[in-house]
Symmetry: C2
Subunit: 144 residues, 2 copies
Amino acid sequence: MEKTKRFFATPQDAETAFYEALEQANLEAMMSVWAEDEEVICVHPGGVRLAGYAEVMEGWRQMFAQGTRLQIALSNPVHVQGLLISVHSVHEHVVVVGEDVRTPPVVATNIYLRGAEGWRMLAHHASPVSTSVPLTVETPKTLH
Amino acid sequence: MEKTKRFFATPQDAETAFYEALEQANLEAMMSVWAEDEEVICVHPGGVRLAGYAEVMEGWRQMFAQGTRLQIALSNPVHVQGLLISVHSVHEHVVVVGEDVRTPPVVATNIYLRGAEGWRMLAHHASPVSTSVPLTVETPKTLH
């Protein structure tokens, strides 16, 4: 797989690229967001923990291979910004393209590290919010 | 509530105190682990996102008020350690005391910050792993 070297000047740039790659089911773009030299962590909703760049990539490869296209709107961001690390907590509102199914909202913790090549994702932990639990959601903010 | 000021010299010290407080259902000890001056984040398994010290405390208060006592063993730790922040990913194996029920394993992302008063928890994101998903688990490492 040819590597696209992209520079993310801010954690927000990396986050935007992450969700764009997810919507586009673009594995190369997705993996360009992740830190290659760290023990990266990825937990898909309801899924096992994937650890390490290779395992995380294989998880996305399998997910994208299913051919499902998603549209994702984000809301309720909470950001804790450090010099070298940034923690973003967001609600994801996921729509499966072509299906009239409302999936439960997902809460995601996204961690970004600043390295020589800009900001990269260290961890993505996403979990569905049980629909039996009341959830206050503001108007979703679309990514685009 | 009288504040116990405790100093955690390492992220691991804070993590040990976190799980001890959880097992003991001790709200004061639990809240002494959290960073008071940050926008802390807590996601209980299947639950909504709690944000801010007061909301996180109320979440623990309600949980502890239920009277359920838990025993928790941890396994599969992955740590990414920075100067001022530390990210721990662990599997939690939770047993409800007095009940012969096997709960599904939980994957937790714990984030600790180093401040003037030592290491404190910034975020705890826990989500159950769907039991339909195969999960390789090593022998659990008990906390004590």
